[in-house]
């Protein structure tokens, strides 16, 4: 049968002088000290091949992983961007109460203070919990860490760094319309 491996073994190349035994072949030939046996192995070709295979492998791996990563990243949710919109019925916000509606990308709390409607963002500027209207104290309060705002969003007390952004709310017919400030 044909020679299966190690075409550069000393026995095949007919190493001079010592002449390796017929039996043993391989990078370290039988009977020879390691360094001399390794002389016949072409390391430059071997490491070049290693680098080529590694490079192609990296290219294949990246081109396989790229679609997977892109797939996992969820698509960005598109929000509308209207200057004003109908969010609900006036009856949903009776006097001395507040209710949160979705307006474009914001959550807006509409407070009915004896007929007068005010609107500001419901997202507490501390860590993002939604505030509620506390009628007893006439404040917007956040249950998470005790932030307090007045009806138009200004800070009264608490850990929050910024006031609530304001919006405009009005009643037309039986609808409540929220618009940008």
């Amino acid at each position: 049968m044909a020679q299966q491996g190690n075409f550069k073994s000393p026995s095949r190349l007919g190493a001079l002088g010592e002449g390796a035994s017929l039996s043993s072949s391989g990078p370290v030939s039988g009977g020879k000290p390691r360094e001399q046996g390794l002389k016949e192995v072409d390391f430059e070709r071997r490491s070049f091949l290693g680098k080529v295979v590694g490079g192609i492998g990296a290219a294949v791996a990246i081109s396989t992983l790229y679609p997977v990563i892109k797939y996992i990243i969820p698509p960005v949710k598109q929000f509308s961007n209207k200057s004003e919109m109908v969010v609900g019925k006036a009856a949903e916000v009776p006097a001395k109460s507040g209710k949160i509606f979705q307006f474009n990308k914001d959550k807006v709390i509409v407070v009915n203070d004896n007929g007068k409607l005010t609107a500001c963002s419901a997202v507490c500027t501390h860590l993002g919990c939604l505030v509620h209207w506390d009628n007893a104290q006439n404040i917007l309060s956040c249950p998470c860490h005790g932030a307090k705002y007045n009806q138009t969003g200004e800070i009264i007390s608490g850990p929050q760094p910024l006031p609530l952004p304001v919006f405009k709310a009005r009643v037309e017919g039986e609808n409540i319309i929220i618009s940008k400030a």
Partner: protein
């Protein structure tokens, strides 16, 4: 001596010296590749620089072969040393694993198909997990999320097509693997349980295919499931089982929920357990060679499983991956229309190709009670097929077993011919 399980070889064919191995190699390389040499018989290899005469009288001259030992010059990295210090109990296990060898002969090409089945299954796990990030398994949202994945998500179409195609390729590789091991009689002693666990794996894979097929909730999925779950009703107790499977009398949103839970939780759990057993058996029992090959010197050599055979396996996996991506991109599966229970079944409705043989048998046995006969035939056939290692006595004695080869050819012919008949009648 590559047969890992020494007990199995005791009492079977008499140990013969491996022909054409230069005997001096055994002495010259002390840390050589085959330390698991049973004491007595193999020393006959020593002193053989002369040609060994095999039983068939063929002259095999001594050939100088590289006594390749991939672990000869290996050194432990510092990370490896860190583990070795703590898990030294595992060192004998790792040394044992390093010994496993795979015989090389003219039929060893077939050894790759088991690994290919595993490869396509791993692809299924990955793409399945990805699809689950966006798929909603309810009657109201299943089809909408299915369309959403393919239209809105980056490369969603690619993940879905790969998942659909890899399912088919996995079942195809499993069938090829099963028949190649059958004809090579790899099921014979001591590997009976490998055959049994392998058959269970095949049945689980077909279950995966059946349960997953409904999930897109398009017309094709709905009616294929309806037809597929209608047939078992004629068997005794079948109506009850169909009721459990369907979550009711009809295929509905309840069926979808049950198929989803089977496909994603129960079947993967069972398959991983049985697969671990199957792979463990492969490592413990080694790879079998066809009957008589060792004695007649048809084995060209033995290569190490780790890393040599695994590296060659990886070549097959890369080719399989290329084929998979080609099929996914060039022959995409349809999106279809949303399932509507009140629509009539579409013309030419048929199950997936791996069920076509049974489908054709059911159509052939159209007489009164024919369905029950078909179910009985398939069930009895499957049980006989499962028990082959326990009834093929000749193979277990390492003798040629032509009757079972004929049986395998008959079964293969039945499957191929009936599958082809469905293709001829219905088209693809």
């Amino acid at each position: 001596m590559a047969e890992n399980n020494q007990n199995a070889m005791a009492g079977s064919a008499p140990a013969k010296p491996k022909p054409a191995v230069p005997g001096a190699a055994k002495q010259a390389a002390p840390g050589a590749a085959k330390p698991a040499v049973p004491g007595a018989a193999k020393q006959a290899a020593s002193g053989a620089a002369k040609p060994a005469v095999s039983n068939s009288g063929v002259y095999k001259p001594p050939v100088e072969r590289a006594d390749t030992d991939p672990y000869k010059d290996s050194r432990i990295s510092s990370l490896g040393a860190w583990f070795q210090e703590r898990f030294y109990v595992m060192l004998p296990v790792i040394d044992y694993l390093k010994k496993k060898e795979v015989p090389r002969h003219r039929l060893s090409f077939w050894y790759y198909f088991g690994g290919l089945t595993l490869f396509f299954f791993m692809i299924q796990i990955i793409t399945g997990l990805l699809l689950m990030q966006y798929y909603k398994p309810t009657e109201a949202e299943a089809f909408a999320s299915f369309v959403f994945i393919q239209r809105e998500i980056s490369f969603g179409w690619l993940i879905r097509q790969i998942h659909a195609w890899s399912a088919n390729l996995m079942v195809l590789m499993a069938f090829i693997h099963m028949f190649s091991t059958f004809f090579m009689k790899s099921y014979r002693k001591p590997r009976e349980l490998m055959w049994v666990s392998g058959f269970v794996l095949l049945v689980l894979s077909l279950g995966f295919g059946f349960t997953g097929y409904l999930l897109p909730w398009n017309e094709l999925a709905f009616f294929a499931t309806q037809v597929g779950t209608e047939t078992p009703k004629v068997a005794p107790g079948g109506a009850f089982l169909v009721n459990i499977l369907r979550g009711g009398e009809e295929v509905s949103g309840e069926t979808l929920t049950r198929m989803f839970s089977l496909h994603v939780v129960l079947l993967p759990g069972l398959l991983l357990l049985v697969l671990s057993a199957h792979l463990l058996l492969v490592q413990v029992l080694g790879t079998s060679a066809p009957i008589g090959y060792k004695e007649s010197g048809m084995i060209k050599g033995y290569e190490k499983f780790f890393p040599t055979f695994l590296a060659k396996d990886a070549i097959g996996w890369i080719i399989g991956f290329v084929l998979l991506v080609y099929l996914a991109a060039v022959f995409p599966w349809e999106i279809g229309v949303k399932a509507n229970a009140l629509n009539p079944a579409p013309m030419g409705i048929k199950p997936e190709w791996y069920f076509w043989a049974q489908f054709q048998l059911l159509k052939d046995l159209k007489f009164e009670g024919g369905e029950l006969v078909a179910i009985a035939l398939i069930t009895v056939g499957a049980v006989v097929w499962l028990l082959v290692p326990f009834i093929d006595f000749k193979a277990s004695r390492e003798e040629k077993s032509p009757i079972f080869t004929m049986l395998g050819l008959v079964v293969l012919a039945f499957l191929l011919i009936n599958t082809w008949r469905v293709l001829a009648e219905y088209g693809w």
